[in-house]
């Protein structure tokens, strides 16, 4: 066998375009050979361990057009290359879309948020440790899953939607944007696609090697959040092993329009229970038009976990998910 290499960054071709057209042209030309680089917090681990070996990187952090937060006709638009810290601290986001501010503010650690981008957080790759170790599993183009075996260490893995691969979506901002009914703006040399947040992520049944529907040559350039849920009641909670740096064991992002104790409408999504942010439509339907109560919260919890299929070590995610949904229905204390 040939040595497996860890911990030394290889040589790599680095492109640093300063305008959109150049970036899109590069992405178009390089396709899957051109690794899109934001803050690098997902990238550098792969490169250093030499578990992914792209020929080139296209760094997007110098493209001002894809940074910043601005008001648009029906809401706000956030450049995908905006840092998470900027989003968490932005007055507009805090006042109208506090759910996203909270989610962004819970990602990883302050150091990572200072350079990590929203786009990067959304398109980040799975964190299954077998996959990250560089093993040739399904997600890496191989033909096996090491996590989903009788003794696999799958404590952090999925309880829904497994199809050979059992990795989960690790993003904290993704469930928030699904709940806010955001739209992803995707650009390529051939034009622009607008994709609803919920449809942006893809599970292994449909695509086992990618976490999003981005095609080769496409770049996520902006995220638009409509006014629909502006100033609604928000609930975000992330439960992780440690209080910083860790990915969620389970997270919940909820938006609700409540009037006189009655939940008029709601959107709820959970993170880290499936390979995509899991929108809980059945729960939303059960809440609509109902009086908020502990009993309603319990009902919602039971609906939320229906169909869960735990693996070896992630049974705890079922009660945890139920409890978080319960807390979301209860709202802020």
């Amino acid at each position: 066998m040939v040595a497996t290499s860890h911990d030394v960054m290889p040589d790599i071709e680095l492109y640093q375009p300063t305008d959109e057209a150049n970036a899109l042209a590069l992405a178009g030309t390089l396709g899957r050979d051109g690794w899109l680089l934001g803050g690098g917090q997902d990238t550098f681990g792969w490169l250093k361990d030499r578990n992914k070996t792209p020929a080139a990187m296209i760094e997007l952090t110098q493209i001002d057009a894809w940074k910043g937060i601005k008001e648009i006709a029906d809401g706000i638009e956030i450049g995908a290359v905006t840092t998470l810290t900027e989003i968490a601290n932005n007055p507009l986001v805090q006042s109208r879309y506090g759910l996203l501010a909270q989610a962004a503010g819970h990602v990883a650690s302050p150091q990572i948020r200072n350079v990590g981008t929203l786009g990067g957080n959304l398109v980040q790759d799975a964190r299954c440790w077998y996959y990250r170790r560089g093993l040739d599993c399904y997600r890496a183009g191989g033909n096996i899953c090491y996590a989903d075996s009788p003794q696999g260490l799958n404590r952090e893995h999925a309880i829904f939607g497994a199809s050979r691969c059992v990795a989960v979506s690790p993003s904290d901002t993704a469930p928030a944007l699904v709940a806010l009914e955001a739209t992803m703006v995707v650009q390529s040399e051939s034009g622009q696609r607008l994709i609803p947040a919920q449809d942006f992520f893809v599970g292994p049944a449909r695509d086992i090697v990618n976490m999003t529907v981005l095609n080769a040559g496409e770049i996520l350039t902006a995220i638009r959040i409509p006014n629909t849920w502006a100033n609604a009641e928000f609930y975000f909670e992330k439960v992780a092993d440690r209080n910083v740096w860790d990915f969620a064991l389970v997270s919940v992002a909820a938006v609700m329009k409540v009037s006189g104790g009655v939940i008029e409408d709601a959107r709820i999504a959970c993170g880290a229970v499936e390979c995509v942010p899991r929108r809980l439509e059945a729960v939303e339907n059960a809440l609509r038009g109902q009086q908020r109560s502990e009993q309603l919260a319990n009902q919602a919890a039971a609906i939320a976990s229906e169909g869960a299929r735990p693996l070896n070590y992630n049974h705890f995610k079922v009660p945890l998910m139920e409890n978080l949904v319960k807390r979301a229905v209860r709202g802020q204390a």
Binding site: M1, G141, P150, I208
Partner: protein
């Protein structure tokens, strides 16, 4: 052109087979297209020489019973479904293909087993056996076949081998994933797993080539009556005497 076999590293860093290289899909597609197109062109050039298509009118003889025709079309449909669902992820079509694939696979397995038993005990098995006489048949227009011609027998056995290969490997692969019946065990060595994927892939490529060929010939004007017989069950006496030796095959009259 690329490679034939793809490799990966097993869990301990050793190189093992991953599966067939899907570059070969294009090779097979192109090869089949070229070969079948060449056949069509050659046949068209020879058209004025020979093609006297016998009449479909008149008395009818039974070629395929309804149960066998059902078997054939169910098998065809399941193979079609298997090929489409199997190729979908390779071509990047983003739909959930896996469940449909193994369900079609189980269906195919079931009908294949059915057919094996039926053909061994309820049908004239000998009529499908290839013998030395069959190999001389294409070169001697005086030699007419029994129920099945050399080409038909050849296609049958080629498909048999390939379908058995794809089904057996498919079942072994099916046993490696989570299903409603069992949870995966990862007990098959990765080298063996890769070999199963390779054989399954090669068998798939062969099957695609055979299916394309089979459909082509099934749609040829001079063979079309066979296709009709797989739908309706009968061929005409004219068609029978033009293409078969009655001393080798004497079907009963069709209803």
């Amino acid at each position: 052109m690329g490679e034939i076999v793809r490799y990966k590293r097993d869990v301990w860093g050793e190189d093992v087979i991953l599966g067939v290289s899907w570059d070969l899909l294009w090779v097979v597609a192109v090869a089949v297209l070229i070969l079948l197109a060449a056949h069509a062109i050659v046949m068209a050039a020879l058209a004025n020489k020979k093609m006297d298509i016998p009449s479909a009118e008149g008395r009818r003889v039974l070629r395929h019973e309804s149960i066998d025709r059902l078997f054939h079309w169910v098998m065809a449909a399941s193979i079609f479904a298997l090929i489409i669902t199997g190729i979908a992820p390779i071509l990047g079509w983003g739909w959930a293909w896996l469940d449909m694939h193994w369900i079609a696979g189980l269906l195919l397995t079931f009908v294949v087993i059915f057919h094996i038993i039926r053909s061994l005990f309820w049908q004239d098995f000998k009529s499908m056996i290839l013998g030395p006489r069959d190999f001389g048949e294409p070169f001697d227009s005086a030699k007419k076949p029994g129920k099945y011609s050399f080409e038909q027998k050849g296609m049958h056995w080629a498909v048999t081998i390939v379908v058995l290969a794809v089904v057996v490997t498919g079942i072994l692969l099916f046993m490696q994933i989570d299903t409603p019946f069992w949870d995966r065990t990862n007990s098959m060595a990765e080298s063996q797993l890769g070999l199963m994927f390779l054989l399954h892939g090669l068998a798939t490529l062969a099957l695609i080539a055979l299916v394309a060929t089979h459909i082509y010939f099934a749609l040829r004007p001079e063979k079309m009556f066979y296709t009709r017989s797989m739908l309706t069950g009968w061929i005409s006496e004219d068609e029978m005497s033009a293409n078969h030796d009655p001393s080798r095959w004497s079907p009963k009259e069709a209803d």
